[in-house]
């Protein structure tokens, strides 16, 4: 395999030409929707009409707008969780498992705390979920910090193990005794996340999500720990030279990340399902990685990205009902958007130059 002299090569430029920068998000959206239009055409359906149902109509009615917000909740939380980790250079792919850890805690506490009034029970649920998520994140984090074991694979493996734990619980001690369904007993009413708008699905979790975003913003921009996190993530050697304890910073960030993912689990149990079920999470942990990346690892970005993805999820359901386009259009669009964005952000740092 000789070094073939491809006539063009990519040459790195330090800063992209200024005119490119505002164009990039627009280009990303345009390219994404062009590709998705291709897929829509295979359903033999008019793409423009489909796009109306996909992107516009969810915003037009109150019901669907609220649904958008509901769908955004777990994404906000896992997005924030992953951002904490990624910003520190810790690649936590285990948000999915940490979410379920929190969900297990919620399902259990939801029974145990039944006697308490909501203003006590709900915060305790959240704290319990946070601790459970943190606990599940602990082992990979310690292995990384003490033994330099790569966290990507360990957190991924922990996801699989957690899936089996959930299955064991739901098929065993937590199987519904009456129906035989693999779902945990319903949690007590006082532990359920109350509805923000009556007779809608929008629950307290949305507030929790907003708080998480606010906390992310605050920590990253206003606290010294946040600056340390970013320094470690962007320049480990320099951070160490400047006296920052890299191991400790990474460990704390990893634990916070796990904890917030755990809260996402609590939110799904206490706000939507009221039981622990096997399908609690529609890959929220993995989508959190997309949200964090597209959001540029900052609070505002994560917020916008989660709302946008909420829109896509809701819109996919709308266009599915209205035009028979399969609902998975949503997942597809989200993945395309990520890949296109990755490609564009990197392409803008390069120019194509004729090889001398």
């Amino acid at each position: 395999m000789e070094a073939k002299r491809f006539p063009y090569q990519l040459v790195k430029t330090n800063t992209p030409p200024l005119w490119m920068r505002p164009l990039i998000p627009a280009l990303i959206l345009l390219t994404t929707f062009l590709i998705t239009a291709g897929l829509i055409l295979t359903a033999q359906v008019n793409p423009f009409q489909a796009y109306y149902y996909f992107l516009i109509s969810p915003l037009s009615s109150q019901v669907s707008f609220l649904e958008l917000l509901v769908k955004a909740i777990p994404l906000m939380l896992t997005g924030v969780a992953v951002t904490f980790a990624f910003a520190t250079g810790y690649y936590n792919i285990g948000a999915e498992g940490q979410l379920y850890a929190g969900a297990i805690a919620a399902a259990w506490l939801g029974i145990v705390l039944g006697g308490l009034p909501p203003f006590l029970a709900i915060p305790l649920m959240i704290i319990g979920g946070f601790m459970a998520g943190m606990a599940w994140a602990l082992i990979p984090a310690l292995l990384k910090v003490r033994l330099a074991v790569d966290e990507v694979v360990t957190t991924l493996l922990m996801n699989s193990i957690m899936a089996y734990i959930v299955s064991a619980l739901l098929n065993g001690p937590w199987r519904d005794p009456i129906s035989g369904w693999p779902q945990s007993p319903e949690i007590a009413e006082s532990t359920m996340f109350f509805k923000l708008i009556p007779r809608s699905r929008l629950h307290f979790g949305f507030i929790v999500g907003l708080v998480a975003i606010a906390v992310l913003w605050y920590v990253m921009t206003q606290t010294s720990f946040g600056l340390k996190m970013r320094a470690v993530g962007l320049g480990k050697t320099a951070a160490q030279f400047a006296g920052i304890n890299v191991g400790r910073t990474t460990l704390i960030a990893a634990l916070i990340s796990g904890g917030i993912a755990g809260i996402a689990g609590v939110s799904e149990v206490a706000g939507i399902q009221y039981h622990l079920i096997g399908d609690l999470s529609a890959h929220y942990g993995y989508t959190g990685v997309i949200i964090a990346t597209l959001g540029g690892l900052n609070a505002i970005g994560v917020f916008v990205a989660s709302l946008f993805f909420g829109l896509i999820d809701t819109g996919a359901q709308t266009v599915s009902r209205a035009m028979g386009v399969p609902v998975y259009l949503g997942e597809f669009t989200q993945a395309v958007m990520l890949l296109v964005a990755l490609g564009m952000y990197l392409l803008q740092r390069y120019r194509i130059v004729r090889r001398v």
């Binding site: 606290t223 010294s224 600056l227 951070a239």
Partner: protein, 498 residues
């Protein structure tokens, strides 16, 4: 017969003239040394010969034929091979696999066949190596032999060795020299880049001395003394010291290193019983050719590398093995050697400035942005940093990056300043600025440890000069007594004054 002729080779990098009309001839069957300090142009010249750089002007002739060498592939085809200090080996593979990598056209890799073929080549050239050994398990000396074998396997007739003994222990050096003798007998011609006089005089037939990109002279090794070579290597027109002549002030020791020992990344000793004292209000310059332990010395004092023995004391207080933040608090001003690694490129100038002292700007975990802004603005003005506070550090020029580091360190009025290679890669005005800052700090009474591979810099700034060679301090002298001869002998290991 001259197997290689390089005629009037000139190469510029920006403003710097790395090779200035250099003439170099290599006789067939000789071992020829290229001698000089850092920046003399030796490596540049050889990289041109090996096709890694293209000369701006000049002619290269191989076996009397003018040639153009576009890339290492061309060089290899002309029979020129190069062994650098960074080995291009794949550790989990065997010696044989490493040697044949990229040289075989067949699809099948017959292990027995390549092992035999490599063993035969090794025998022929007198290189002792086991083709079936896994490179990961080999010592540095053995790995170097693999690199040499790679070049020979590709039918090299000219072998360029860039500072080959820099990574070897003494026994391995002897083994290398034996190999070179054998290669000479096989008719190979060797170019030996070095700054170590005793090796040069031991193994070579002729020596070409370079200084500041120019050839000072080419001599037969037998006809010249070490002193003469040292003078050629280091001699300058203006050998004065251009520093305000203040007599040694209060002789208060501020930084003391006592028998400091440390290992490098391969767990081999790289600092051997280094003892130094830096006094208040003086600049002690550590002179030496790069690769003699300077990097590790700076790392050890700055808390990035743990010493294996010995002590570091600041004003009598033992700070050995303390963490970077504790060292800063003890009054040690640490400037990182590599500004690209010492600054977080993707953070703003302001953030990098305060990164070392976050505690001072934090109340209850919260950053006091107003105070930080104020502080940063002050420093930007004071140190003339051409950047806005919120600029990303990576957009700054090298000089301004260095100013950020200086601002961060010097604004604290440290008692001791460690300045390793402070002006490396900087343009003239930035270099002057940095040196001026160091002199001002000296005036202020700080004790400054200047580590530099640029001898001019050492001479311009230091009150006293200590020379480091192979991890030891081989001599300390007041600047006034630094003659080219004396420094040259110390820097090239010919003499040890302890």
């Amino acid at each position: 017969m001259f197997i290689v002729k390089m005629q009037s080779i000139t190469k510029r990098f920006g403003d710097v003239i790395a090779n200035d009309h250099v003439n170099f001839q290599l006789k067939k069957g000789e071992v020829h040394a290229l001698l000089g300090e850092n920046g003399a142009g030796k490596t540049t010249l050889m990289r041109i010969l090996y096709g890694l750089y293209h000369p701006d002007s000049g002619v290269i002739k191989v076996k009397e034929q003018p040639v153009v060498i576009h890339s290492p592939k061309d060089a290899i085809q002309l029979g020129i091979g190069m062994v650098t200090q960074h080995f291009a080996l794949v550790p989990p593979l065997t010696v044989a696999e490493n040697v044949v990598l990229g040289y075989q056209n067949s699809f099948v890799l017959n292990q027995t066949q390549i092992e035999e073929s490599v063993a035969e080549a090794a025998r022929r050239f007198g290189i002792e190596i086991n083709p079936r050994a896994i490179v990961r398990h080999l010592s540095v000396g053995q790995r170097q032999r693999v690199e040499i074998l790679k070049a020979l396997y590709r039918n090299a007739e000219v072998l360029i060795l860039d500072e080959p003994t820099a990574v070897l222990i003494p026994q391995e050096v002897d083994a290398l020299f034996e190999t070179l003798e054998h290669l000479k007998q096989e008719g190979l011609s060797v170019i030996f880049i070095s700054h170590k006089l005793h090796e040069v005089t031991q193994i070579t037939d002729r020596v070409t001395v370079l200084r500041d990109g120019k050839v000072v002279g080419t001599v037969n090794t037998a006809d010249v003394t070490q002193k003469e070579l040292a003078a050629m290597m280091v001699g300058r027109e203006a050998f004065g010291v251009s520093r305000p002549d203040t007599a040694a002030s209060a002789q208060k020791p501020v930084l003391e290193l006592v028998n400091l020992c440390a290992n490098d990344d391969k767990h081999l000793p790289v600092l051997k019983n280094v003892s130094l004292t830096v006094y208040e209000g003086e600049i002690l310059g550590i002179a030496g050719v790069g690769g003699n332990g300077q990097k590790e010395l700076a790392e050890t004092i700055c808390g990035v590398r743990q010493p294996t023995a010995g002590k570091i004391m600041v004003e009598g207080q033992d700070v050995t093995g303390k963490s970077p933040s504790e060292l800063t608090k003890a009054g040690l001003g640490r400037i990182p050697e590599d500004r690209h690694e010492g600054l977080v490129q993707q953070l703003t100038v302001t953030e990098n400035i305060v990164l070392e002292h976050l505690d001072e700007f934090t109340r209850n975990g919260v950053l006091d942005h107003k105070a930080i802004r104020h502080y940063a603005n002050e420093l930007i003005q004071q140190f003339q940093i051409k950047a806005k506070p919120n600029d990303l550090t990576r957009t700054l020029s090298g000089g301004n990056m260095q100013k950020v580091l200086l601002a961060r360190v010097l604004s604290r009025q440290p008692k001791v300043i460690i300045a390793p290679q402070p002006t490396r890669g900087l343009d003239i005005s930035a270099t002057d600025y940095v040196r001026q800052q160091l002199l001002e700090q000296r005036q202020r009474g700080a004790a400054i440890l200047l580590i530099s591979e640029d001898l001019d810099e050492i001479l311009a700034l230091s009150d006293r000069i200590a020379v480091i060679y192979e991890g030891e301090i081989v001599g300390t002298l007041p600047a006034a007594e630094a003659t080219p001869e004396r420094l040259g002998l110390l820097m090239s290991g010919a003499v040890k004054e302890h």
